[in-house]
Symmetry: D2
Subunit: 105 residues, 4 copies
């Protein structure tokens, strides 16, 4: 699945409904909610938070999927091509941060 | 660029450096930082926050690229396949939320 | 209850347990989780997110209390006095943003 | 300064301006932005993120002050009394989590 396919799949899903894409700040609120759920799972696995006995197994893969879905909704709403964005970022890091970290020898 | 390519590209970038992937809660902190920057831009465009004269043009596409990059770092660290995750989410929404929104007629 | 009392109350609570304060990035993860829960409630009330039938009434006051509690944990861990911080911020806004918004006539 | 004073101080500040309180999802976006800035500082201090040479010293106390200010704006907008909220949370933790952590002997 290409990033372009992923954007198209999400668009197909959203287009089924009258409401269409949510308002930008509403999508952002949802992004925060999903990031918060990932935070809870990572904190259980790697931080100081122990599970309450009633809490089931976490599903980090699902939380990441939810974040990605919401991010794609925002990108689609703003007419942003994720492939271009991601390439731009990797390119930026390759130039800007070239000397920020020690290379593997 | 497929989602798999994207994960591989990020891995290639990260593997250049001795440090490798950051610790999970450190990556999470970075994800929050990047989401915060997107929040600032969306708030300028769609919310009540006016720009200070010293603030330049925002670049929503770049902020989304930064979030996607960080999300891929977390997925790679956790051995998560983004294609599977995203398909799972779309499938979940198609079943769980089938009657939650009004369909286009 | 003064801000100082609030910091002392939280300290008294945390000091009951062997673990004491969580590590900083673990507290941060928890802060995100709590902010995510507030985001969900605000999105239900003011955004495009409708409640699933299974979701009960939200409690914005509780979510704000959870965020405040976690923020105080971080402040206490870092030896930060909230009264000084808040006064500093209000002072900063009074000076920096003096001409950023239209005054009430 | 009591929590009630703090809420009153923020109200006095906001009431100077025609705009008054921001819309709820706009305040939430700002909360995320401020939490993102705290995340950056904590990541520099405790995580894997090294400072770029151009970045100055972070000010965790200021970031916490900014978060608290924004949280108070949300509480004021929603007519929420922070003292009651915080007491409710501490009470909840004292009951719910009584056996979740090992006590100091």
């Amino acid at each position: 699945m290409t990033l372009e396919d992923a954007q198209r799949e999400v668009h197909k899903y959203v287009s089924q409904f009258k409401m269409g894409y949510w308002a930008p700040l509403s999508n952002l609120a949802r992004l925060i909610e999903e990031v918060g759920e990932l935070a809870r799972e990572l904190n259980h696995l790697y931080g100081n938070k122990s599970k309450k006995p009633t809490e089931g197994e976490g599903h980090i893969a699902d939380e990441i999927g939810d974040i990605l879905f919401t991010l794609i909704c925002i990108a689609n709403s703003e007419d942003i091509d994720l492939t271009t964005s991601l390439k731009g970022v990797i390119d930026k890091y390759n130039h800007r941060d070239r000397d920020r970290w020690d290379p593997v020898e």
